[in-house]
Amino acid sequence: MVLNRNDRYSRQIILKDFGPEAQQQLAHARVLIIGVGGLGCPVLMYLAAAGVGTIGIADGDHVELNNLHRQILFDTPDVGLSKVQVAFTKMKLKNPEVKIVAHGCFVSTANVFDLLSCYDLIVDATDNFASRYMISDACHLMNKPLVYGAVSCYEGQVGVFNFNPNGFASNYRDLFPVPPAPGEANSCTAEGVLGVLPGIIGLMQANEVIKILAGVGIPLINKLFTIDISDYRTLEMEVSPGVHSGMPGSVEEFMRFDYDSFCSVNATYDEVIAAFTLKEWMLKEEWSIIDVREKEEVMENDLFSSVNVPLSTFKTEIENVTLAENVIFVCASGVRSRLALDIAKNIFPERKLFCLKEGVQALINLEFEKEN
């Protein structure tokens, strides 16, 4: 069948206030979606379908079975594959007219400026505070509009930062100047999330992107929209641009800013240790490695001996585990292990407790280096 190129977007082009010019603006736009998870999947699928010309996707993760109930871009055979690679292949089928750029890495202070410089607008679809503060600060320093979205159990938030054609633009730090302590805010891993929620919030983020790029409607500029999908209670609140207290004032300050430490005020610097440090210390003293990933995430061939106490049941199970004098909590990326550390500190105030920086992959890599 021969496809008429103009027909693909015809239903949105005929929309009042949209037209061929708005479609052209979408086609010329470059949007970076950071995080291809519950929020990132719907954002990506709808922006690709709508004809946003270049879409970058950044995520270093692989598809897991427990992702599928909300990350609807991924199918069962995709489990174990790179998220951005799967997304790249599927979006080429959905719309070969758009250019998809796959960045198979987690965004960090080291790569964020290079990444952001290639795009006009950034979508925060991440799942942790350290990334959210870092992306927001980088967008502020680089003057890039940021479409923010976040979820918690049955509630979601959407907002537009660093963008206001008519005056001052607010920043994520104007809304939340201080990050919460680890374990204070609900996370999808520990508290659960209804699959449709990130779908709804991700679609609202995609809607904001399209409105900004096409110049239609009224985006949530300097506003935070909140919805509770359990009873459809909604609230829109105004955010006043402030002094951005605590924000790095220059690229140099940004590069020195430790976002991980900033967002885990209860985990001191000394408590978060690197894999090679752990390896050295383990030669001298007895250690218990507690893996707080969920049971289905733990691979049988993981190259270190550990006890699995999933974060979802951590509070009740950890007290029944026999622990060595020194205990280190590990997880996939280093986020959940900090939450576990925070909980454990209240239960075992006398014990030496640590968490592993960057997660089990760092340990596995180290073992792998030793074998070769």
């Binding site: 990132g40 925060d124 991440t126 509630e155 939340f176 805010a185 209670r233 955010v239």
Partner: protein
């Protein structure tokens, strides 16, 4: 008529209410203190306060008839 308080996210779990009304309170700082006194579980929790749908600082006055929202940050995605 008092002050209507809308409670979101984890705060609603602690308070066990999504909405309540209080008699009178001077400003946002006084509201925070009153809430911690009545709901000790709020101690240490991080949240912003919006008065009549505008995010405000702790010194902002609260009047009878105002609608006050308590909003924690969300991180999930």
């Amino acid at each position: 008529m008092g002050v209507k308080i809308l409670v979101f996210g984890k705060l609603a779990e602690v308070i066990c209410l999504k909405e309540m009304e209080i008699a009178d309170v001077k400003d946002v700082a006084a509201l925070r203190s009153l809430l911690i006194k009545n709901y000790p579980g709020l101690n240490g929790l991080n949240y912003i306060v919006a008065v009549n749908r505008k995010v405000v600082a702790d010194a902002f006055p609260i009047c009878v008839g105002d609608e006050v929202a308590l909003m924690p940050p969300f991180s999930g995605g």
